[in-house]
């Protein structure tokens, strides 16, 4: 048997993490993703369906809106499972696409409440930082790429971007978080 070793998006065997003052940036290698799109004449899936710009956490999954009649489903800790297959059973008649390997996810946590996350948002992305509260998610421009930004909680933010650009996203996140630490 060949000796295969799974590699994280940043190329190391273990997910990377870095700390900048009160902010911690961590690569989330265990996040499973599947997109769900409604077909014109099919029924609604058996999933929570948040409205435009929203993110909902349910029992075993989380869902955010990505476009009209389209959602992305997150499975925390399920990257090694056949996640899209499991979701397809709950979304009969819908188009379900495996997305896990297309994206790299980064989780940013703050030890000092919402303010450092808000400062980071103001630097990084083209969203109105004071309106982008817990439960909001959107796709927007970020360093000449596009990413999904999810405000999981007041003190937690997630950035999901193209896996092939993981290094560039990591660079942008850590550079900005590092500069905020200097100015804080």
């Amino acid at each position: 048997m060949p000796d295969l070793q799974p590699t994280c998006a940043l190329g190391a065997p273990k997910p990377k993490t870095a700390r900048f003052g009160v902010l911690t940036v961590t690569e989330n290698a265990n996040l499973a993703l599947a997109s769900v799109a409604l077909r014109r004449d099919a029924g609604a899936p058996d999933l929570p369906l948040p409205g435009p710009g929203e993110w909902i956490e349910a029992e075993d999954i989380a869902v955010f809106w990505i476009g009209p009649d389209q959602w992305m489903v997150e499975g925390h800790g399920r990257a090694a499972d056949d996640f899209a297959h499991a979701i397809a059973h709950r979304a009969l008649g819908c188009s379900v696409t495996e997305q896990t390997d297309g994206f790299a996810a980064f989780e940013i946590t703050s030890d000092a409440g919402a303010e450092p996350i808000r400062a980071l948002l103001e630097k990084l992305v083209n969203v109105e930082a004071h309106c982008f509260t817990a439960g909001q998610a959107t796709r927007t421009g970020f360093h000449h790429m596009s990413v999904f930004v999810i405000r999981r909680a007041d003190d937690r933010l997630a950035v999901l971007g193209m896996r092939s650009a993981a290094g560039t996203i990591w660079h942008a996140l850590t550079e900005t978080a590092g500069r905020l630490e200097v100015t804080a």
């Binding site: 009209p68 389209q70 083209n126 959107t138 927007t140 421009g141």
Partner: protein, 93 residues
């Protein structure tokens, strides 16, 4: 310049890409007897108004929806935006 996205609220115009006149949604029937003539007009002839103009914008760095944006080409004022699929439903009726 901000575009008032009907679902997501005001978004920066840099997230969008521009296609052109909203009348491009009304594609002629390729099977019609005078299809060649109608496609000539569809492909080559455009109004070029100084003033109110309805145009197609794509939310490329966002939710990837097509919008019909009404813009004043003289002042660049954006007067409104709607989802192209809603505009099309309205237009087909």
């Amino acid at each position: 310049m901000l575009i008032p996205h009907p679902l997501l609220g005001p978004r920066d115009s840099s997230e969008f890409s521009y296609l052109g006149d909203a009348s491009l949604m009304d594609r002629p029937d390729g099977m019609a007897p005078d299809a060649a003539e109608r496609f000539h007009d569809y492909v080559h002839l455009r109004d070029n108004p100084a003033g109110i103009h309805r145009e197609l914008w794509f939310h490329e760095q966002g939710d990837r929806s097509w919008l019909v944006v009404t813009r004043n080409t003289v002042t660049h004022e954006i007067l409104g935006a709607e989802l192209a699929r809603d505009a099309r439903k309205g237009g087909a009726a």
